[in-house]
Subunit: 221 residues, 2 copies
């Protein structure tokens, strides 16, 4: 069976789970507490990070590399796009959320509120959380800007851009820190994404010791 | 003519220049001082970052998306690989250097020594430079580990993994902070990369106000 090493609230693990589910590929999940640096896990991925996909005995690491691998090996339905230019746009946006949103929002909020506790690194830094909460607005505006013109972030079809953005946002939403009421277009896009079958397993995830926000699993949030 | 907005010592701009040159595609370069946030530039890339490729009137942003675009539009010679698994390995390593090496080494050394001065952000933080110089050793060891077994980082052919790693390292080498003498295997790999025709334009680059190390442009360093 296909296997994904993951953490329930790792946005990049979530992206890979969505990728697999949208392609209707079955997989098992194994939680890997990466900070314990387990030797057998480091042997298969020296970066010591999740997600890692094991597919037919082959180890694929890095969520972007996994997405491209799945797209090449199981091309239908495409999650990148149907033309060279559409694919460039989907990849640009996917990496925007993987890199910029992650650095500016996810690290500031989720690392402080959640990972520090799990890893025994002390109290959250409230200044960093404040910065993350400030930064999220312009990302939600950008999502609103894009989806006012297009069904999905990169065009008329769902792509890796939506999966990247939704994965990051879902982690912040778990913590109750997405100001949805200020960003109606972004909220409508997220509601459509959240209602997809691929998204449902994410909504039942729980991180030990961290309670999800009241509306996290609510499709009519 | 194809156009690349770049900065001479941006590692991601360098990666795109190498990608184009290895595929024998001609292009013009335009230096973009991204910190000035020029309006016409933000209009074509709202992320405000280099590199940006303009190819036949189409704008492609993000160095990874540009690499995938070039690979799809101009597939020969491949710079990702010839099989699905080889491509996954090349992408994993390429992203390793783009993300991990960049965060752990390039940001600490190049941002402190060079970007701060250009952007008028004050004096370099010597503690961060020290951390960057410490971190570079294990990346060079990893390059040595890989190239003791393979001709190039991801296998028997040159790929985006080599271009990513070489781009990051070339920036640190410009500043004279690569401890080559401690890492012979990595040095031999870099010497082969540096001797390629695609690499020569990078070796004539100068960043205003920052003098390159004595051996930067030397093929027998």
């Amino acid at each position: 069976m296909r296997l994904v090493y993951h953490l329930p609230l790792s946005p990049f693990s979530r992206k890979v789970r969505l990728f697999l589910a949208e392609k209707k590929l079955l997989f098992d999940l194994r939680a890997e507490n990466v900070w314990q640096r387990r030797e057998q896990f480091l042997a298969i991925n020296p970066a010591g990070q999740v997600p890692v996909l094991v597919d037919e005995g082959e180890v694929i690491a890095d969520s972007t590399a996994i997405g491209e691998y799945l797209e090449e090996k199981y091309p239908t339905p495409t999650l990148i796009g149907n033309s060279v230019l559409a694919r460039a746009e989907a990849r640009r946006l996917s990496l925007w959320f993987d890199l910029k949103f992650f650095q500016e929002v996810t690290v500031n909020i989720a690392h402080e509120k959640m990972m520090k506790r799990l890893m025994g690194q002390g109290q959250p830094d409230s200044e960093r959380i404040r910065v993350g909460k400030e930064n999220i607005h312009y990302h939600l505006e950008y999502i609103g800007f894009l989806t006012a013109r297009r069904s999905w972030l990169a065009g008329s079809d769902l792509t890796c851009a939506d999966l990247s953005a939704g994965s990051q946002l879902s982690v912040i939403d778990y913590l109750g820190d997405v100001p949805w009421t200020d960003h109606t277009d972004a909220k409508n896009w997220y509601a459509r994404l959240k209602s997809r079958q691929s998204f449902q397993p994410l909504l039942t995830d729980h991180m030990p010791g961290v309670i999800p926000s009241k509306t996290y699993a609510d499709l009519d949030f």
